[in-house]
């Protein structure tokens, strides 16, 4: 039985391509830093964890043939709410997490209802949600968010397990594993995959495609919230618009990792490679003392490169 499970997890060619690109960038970074260290790469991974987790949710939405443009706003919401609810006091842990995750759940449900019940195209519905959230944050904070994250909580991103593995990477790995098991080894996940690849065929086969779409938006919003929590632990404070770039970056990471806009593909390892690639590019540009704006140019070029590579294999 075990070998069968392993063959099911055989990486897709898109994942292998993304991993190869990641390895190439890692080598370049190590050379550029004159020998560097594994520590440097792991530190990149530590900081990439919030994006990696958000990209996982985005990859799931892409699997359903849709886009979630509210993940950046949802992560930003998590940041502001968590800091405010914690107010620097570690004893507020329970209520702070419950409130933050509860709001994330609400965002996901709202997206799902807009898309499934009101039949608004997902990218427009989530764009609207993102605007409402951003406006809500401004109203609530009056432009100057308060509160802070207690140092004891910040261990989840700043701490290392036995000096070899950052806690944030561990959390990222666990969440990835849970999603992989969900999509590939549960009935609901399998139905979601089929609904993503062909919603009409899924409905014809008695799959409740609508509920599964709502579920996918809830999962995506929870992933964005978790990403926002990790991001808060990294910065230690609340800031407005801190996660805005994560919307576009999460799509880029998932697409570099082999996700297709047509749906039906879920490659969490690919999305992880995509997130790491985006962070390594930033580090590399910093090491090479290139302007930060060059990051967008390189990132755009890499998306084009990754997609051109993927398409070259297909027959026209």
């Amino acid at each position: 039985m075990a070998p069968l499970v392993i063959t099911r997890l055989r990486p897709a060619s898109a994942t292998i391509r993304a991993a190869a690109l990641l390895a190439l960038l890692a080598v370049v970074l190590l050379v550029a830093t004159r020998g560097g260290s594994l520590q440097l790469l792991l530190d990149n991974a530590r900081q990439a964890a919030p994006l990696g987790i958000i990209a996982l949710g985005q990859a799931l939405i892409l699997m359903m043939g849709r886009l979630d443009l509210s993940v950046g706003a949802a992560a930003g919401l998590a940041n502001v709410v968590l800091a405010s609810a914690f107010a620097g006091d570690p004893t507020n842990l329970g209520p702070a997490l419950a409130l933050t995750l509860g709001l994330g759940l609400a965002v996901g449900l709202a997206n799902g209802v807009l898309v499934v019940v009101l039949r608004i195209p997902a990218f427009l519905a989530t764009l609207a949600t993102a605007m409402v959230i951003a406006g809500g944050i401004l109203v609530y904070t009056g432009g100057s968010p308060r509160g802070s994250i207690p140092a004891s909580f910040r261990v989840i991103t700043e701490g290392w397990i036995g000096d070899v593995l950052p806690w944030s990477v561990m959390i990222w790995l666990i969440v990835s594993l849970v999603l992989v098991v969900f999509v590939h080894f549960t009935l609901a996940g399998r139905q979601m995959l089929i609904a993503g690849a062909n919603a009409r065929a899924a409905r014809h086969s008695g799959i409740a495609a609508g509920s599964l779409v709502v579920a996918s938006f809830v999962i995506s919003a929870l992933m964005a919230t978790l990403g926002g929590i990790l991001l808060s632990a990294i910065t230690g404070m609340a800031s407005i618009g801190i996660a805005d770039s994560y919307t576009v970056d999460s799509i880029a990471a998932a697409v570099i990792g082999g996700a297709l806009f047509s749906g039906g593909v879920f490659l969490p390892a690919g999305a992880a490679c995509g997130a790491l690639i985006i962070f390594l590019i930033q580090s590399l540009l910093y090491v090479l003392s290139l302007p930060p704006a060059a990051r967008f140019i390189v990132q755009g070029a890499i998306i084009v490169f990754a997609l051109a590579l993927a398409n070259s294999k297909k027959e026209p």
């Binding site: 995959l193 690849a197 062909n198 014809h204 008695g206 799959i207 409740a208």
Partner: protein, 513 residues
Amino acid sequence: MPDRTDADTTPLLVVEAMSKAFGRNSVLKGVSFSLHAGEVLALVGENGAGKSTLMNILSGGLGHDHGRMSLDGAAFAPSTPTEAAAAGVAIVHQETTILPDLSVAETIYFGSEPRNALGLIRQNELHARAARLLADLGFAISPHRLGRDLSAAERQMVEIAGAVSRSPRLLILDEPTASLSAAAAASVLQLMARLKATGMAIIFISHRLSEVIESADRVVVLKDGEMTLQAVRGAFTRDDLVVAMVGRTLSNIFPERPAEVTTQPERFALKAAGNAGLPPIDLCVRRGEVLGIAGLEGQGQKPLADALCGLRPFTCGRIEIDGQLLRLRSPAAAIAAGIASIPDDRRTEGLALTLPIRLNLSLFALRQGSRFGFLSVSHEADFAEAARRRYDIKTVDLEQPVSQLSGGNQQKVVFARWLAGEPRLLVLYEPTKGVDVETESEIYHLIGSLTQRGVAVLLISGDLLELIGLSDRIVTLYEGRISGEIARHAFSEEAIMHLASGPAPAPREAVDA
């Protein structure tokens, strides 16, 4: 009618050893025929036989790999539809391309409208010209009517008028009568006769063998890309056509039907069941019975199939399965009640094309092996492997995307999925559309063996041979209502077409019993 023979004149069109392949899949293999001016050639063959490919090559829509064509003695190899049109070849495709907001006249002269010095269309002249053309052709359609208001038959007429307005030497009609009632089809055939008398050569594709026998001066039958028959009027019979089309006699293709099905208990019944898209309908099917549902295109087949599978549920009337009242509210409810429905379009409604064959096969079988919502990987693998062997799905690797299978093998995957649990009622909607002859026969025998185990079958099909070969009883749909019923011993294409083209004044089933 002047009987032209090959010796009289030089042919207008000569096609020699025409071949075409898409990748490794060769769809035309050395087809040769010729056609004289003033002749009607019928091109006959099953779906996927290569008819449309051949017509597309002739009309410049596709290039060819090998072979030669000549038109009026000159070499002819159009690389674009415009080039073919300039050489005098016009084609009317099966799917009409009528734009809803253009008038009939604008549609007919689309792209060649009379214009004034400013480049604006002279509307009056355009409509007057169209009125003359329509009158010449004997069509009673106003040139001012909009495309959206035309019936299927009128659309076809307008398309033909558009092609004829360019005075082609060769007119190609791709299934001009497929979606028409018998009366409308007859007027298309009359028009063909009139155009032919003007010296126009016509090639038409048809599945209706009676109209082929009636109208064609020459017939070409294709099967799997090869020409299996070419004959002139009078030198072929209906049976010749069937054998050439399917490659063997009907008795081998279809399973034997037992005689005693009419005494079996009733399995499924609709009593005045209908919804917004379907007037209330009554029908019943017995255990082990195949009830054929015939009809011209768009007579309620789709709404009926969608209601039976729960996608657009019945909103009135009573549905019974094995005598029990059934609430058929959703696809899940239909599946739970033991109704398996094979959709007509496997690519959009049946399969997740990008996903592996295994996933497409195992969808319904998964529930059996799973525990606490987790699936059993080994159970799924065993099921997929067993299905591959049982249905002879031709693939080396079940992990390949299902899109890489041939149409016939894709259809086997759909059947294998739906037959994972033993259904009580099997609803088939065009089950062999785009399926090769080999698989077609396998599917027919599979249906035969299912009925032996008591499965009731509703076969909704536009393929008369299939209906006649497989059904125990046939009802015809016309405008969403049942217009007649025929018992097996009274089956004939004519009888079905007669009932399918409108309500019958004297129903035949009254005599049968």
